[in-house]
């Protein structure tokens, strides 16, 4: 018996009792729909988280070095950190570690008033080395980025984020205007292109940058950094470079074992992988429920198939009499079970994808339809059909044709 005739005959028997077939599919539909929706929403959320971090960090091919041992949560402000990272640490890392493209220096504070005439904003203020924009791939919407000259001459110039431009200037041209950062006058030389929302949906445009030498000597009066951003030549070397960076810094900071590092090297890629791999408790529970629904769907298929086998004993007897082998009968019932589960699964995938779309729209995220998710949902349905169809099919194959044909 060839596959297409087998499928055609299974399809006929399925379509001729539509209500029963639908009932058999129901559990699989519900289970697969929830699994598909969950996986798709989870994937959409994961992708959005990735995008938010990407917007915040500019690039994942970096290592971030912060002062103090142990990973610091949130944004460190210059006034609150250990004074362990020095300006010279940057060039030392470039010189001493293979595979480092650039190192950007950052001093940051987020508690400074920035004003223009009567308007005041409290943006994130970053003192950055001129290569910062290159590390992040940051573009200006108008004006220019900070230059090497600005840094060397301790120029009082600022490149402002689009939120700051809006808050302080209300559409007026900001370029060339003088703003006051903690009462120190700075001239606006550029406006950055909007970056959008970062993690947690917080705007990444409520910020401004000034040369790090200017911030150190004219604004903060501090000779240490809040962050070093190390850009890698090759992202795959992240671990090796991190080890080398640690060695260079320990030597420069004269740290002798067993003393701990007075800095922390972290890889945004690793941090992100950790964040996105941890599902919420809720999604785990719902996934469990969906798996159970799918299994119940399988059990429903099995019990209705068993009823079907006893109702169709005469048919089985007849088929055996006209030449069907046990295996032919087994295959027939197995294919029917698998077909029911797969059709149910297909409906479930469509329903689930619809649910995921609604879920994504509610969260204002672009929906994610992953082929892997659809493929996995399909494979699960097929497996459920075969698994739960096996016993009824075996029962059918072992119907005694003589008994079954006796009227």
């Amino acid at each position: 018996m060839n596959a297409s005739r087998l499928l055609a005959s299974a399809w006929r028997s399925l379509t001729r009792s539509k209500l029963r077939s639908f009932l058999m599919m129901l559990g699989v539909i519900v289970g697969i729909a929830s699994l598909t929706a969950l996986a798709s929403v989870g994937e959409a959320t994961r992708q959005e988280t990735m995008r938010q971090f990407k917007r915040m960090l500019g690039t994942f091919d970096t290592l971030t070095i912060r002062p103090g041992a142990g990973s610091t949560r949130g944004m460190p402000s210059l006034g609150a950190v250990e004074p362990s990272l020095k300006f010279d640490d940057g060039p030392a890392i470039v010189a001493g570690v293979r595979g480092v493209k650039r190192v950007a220096l950052v001093q940051q504070a987020f508690d400074l008033d920035v004003s223009y005439r009567d308007e005041t904003a409290v943006p994130l203020v970053l003192g950055v080395s001129p290569n910062w924009a290159d590390v992040r791939g940051e573009a200006v919407a108008s004006g220019e980025h900070l230059s090497d000259d600005d840094d060397r001459t301790l120029a009082r110039v600022a490149v402002i984020g689009s939120d700051v431009a809006q808050t302080l200037f209300h559409g007026e041209e900001p370029l060339g205007k003088v703003i006051r950062i903690a009462d120190v006058p700075f001239q606006v030389k550029g406006v950055m292109a909007p970056r959008g929302a970062g993690p947690g949906g917080v705007s990444l445009d409520n910020m401004l940058v000034i040369p790090v030498s200017t911030s150190a000597k004219r604004l903060f009066n501090r000779d240490y950094l809040t962050t070093l951003v190390v850009q890698l030549e090759d992202a795959n070397e992240s671990d090796r470079v991190a080890d080398d960076v640690r060695a260079v810094l320990r030597e420069r900071h004269r740290i002798i074992p067993p003393a701990e590092d007075d800095f922390t090297v972290s890889s945004p890629r690793a941090t992100l992988a950790q964040i996105t791999s941890v599902g919420t408790m809720l999604s785990k529970v719902v996934t469990g429920v969906a798996v159970i629904a799918t299994l119940i769907g399988g059990a429903v298929i099995m019990s209705l198939m068993l009823i079907g086998v006893s109702e169709r004993r005469r048919e089985i007897g007849l088929r055996r009499a006209i030449g069907a082998t046990r295996r032919d009968v087994l295959r027939q019932f197995l294919v029917e079970a698998a077909l029911i589960a797969v059709v149910g699964g297909a409906i479930g995938i469509v329903v689930g994808a619809g649910g995921a779309t609604i879920g994504a729209l509610l969260q204002k995220l672009p929906p994610a339809y992953e082929w892997q998710i659809i493929g996995a949902a399909f494979a699960i349905s097929l497996a459920v059909g075969i698994l739960f169809g096996l016993y009824p099919a075996w029962k059918a194959a072992n119907v005694d044709p003589i008994e079954a044909l006796r009227s």
Partner: protein
């Protein structure tokens, strides 16, 4: 050439409590190719047990059954299935059509198990042969008893088997329908098909050239009514 050779066939069943019941006792006979034979007996005579063995659905407890030369008793379940598919056409008292399939689909069904390519044309032809060409698209449940039995006969011919086994084919039919079914079987016999028909009805025996009467598991009589022309 003989179609069926039964040599000292016995069939013993075990009851639930373990006591043996002998349904057939040392039954021997030969049926030649092209014969039309009625096996007649009352219920409990052993005729159903015999039919199951002749139809390769069951194997004898002892003795030898040869179907066109092949010893059936030593064959596996699969091999007997293949034998049924190619060499035997079954006609049942209760027709046993698939209710959710059309007449045409029912006729085609045996081709599924013979290894032959699907042949809708042949199925149509056979429906025409039994006078139901117009009814091909009707579901089995929409047909009268006589029509259903004729569909079943067309089905039994699908794989062109040399042997037809009919079990009380007129048992569920009124006399007019029964008559037309018997006429149909007679004409198939005239075309050279070997037919073995099991019945309890004495009247039916008149259609056949030979009558075996079975009683208490043994052949009580073997009467040739008229000389038969082998195919």
């Amino acid at each position: 050439m003989s179609m069926i050779e039964a040599i000292q066939l016995s069939r013993v069943y075990l009851r639930g409590d373990g006591t043996p019941v002998t349904a057939l006792r040392d039954v021997s006979f030969v049926i030649g190719a092209g014969e039309f034979v009625v096996i007649r007996g009352t219920s409990g005579s052993g005729k159903s047990s015999l039919l199951n063995i002749l139809g390769c659905l069951d194997t004898p407890t002892s003795g030898t059954y040869r179907l066109s030369g092949d010893v059936v008793g030593s064959l596996s379940d699969d091999e007997r299935s293949h034998l049924r598919a190619r060499r035997i056409g079954f006609v049942f008292q209760s027709f046993n059509l698939l209710p959710r399939a059309t007449a045409l689909e029912n006729v085609e069904l045996p081709a599924l198990y013979s290894g032959a390519a699907p042949d809708r044309g042949r199925a149509r032809e056979l429906l025409g042969r039994v006078g139901l060409g117009e009814r091909a698209a009707h579901y089995a449940t929409e047909l009268s008893g006589g029509e259903q039995q004729r569909v079943a006969i067309a089905r039994s011919l699908m794989n062109d088997p040399p042997l037809l086994l009919a079990d009380e084919p007129t048992g569920n039919l009124d006399s007019a329908s029964g008559e037309s079914v018997m006429q149909l079987l007679s004409s198939l016999h005239r075309e050279g098909r070997t037919i073995v028909l099991v019945t309890h009805d004495e009247h039916i025996a008149s259609f056949a050239g030979r009558e075996l009467v079975i009683r208490d598991g043994v052949i009580a009589s073997d009467t040739v009514r008229r000389a038969q022309v082998p195919a």
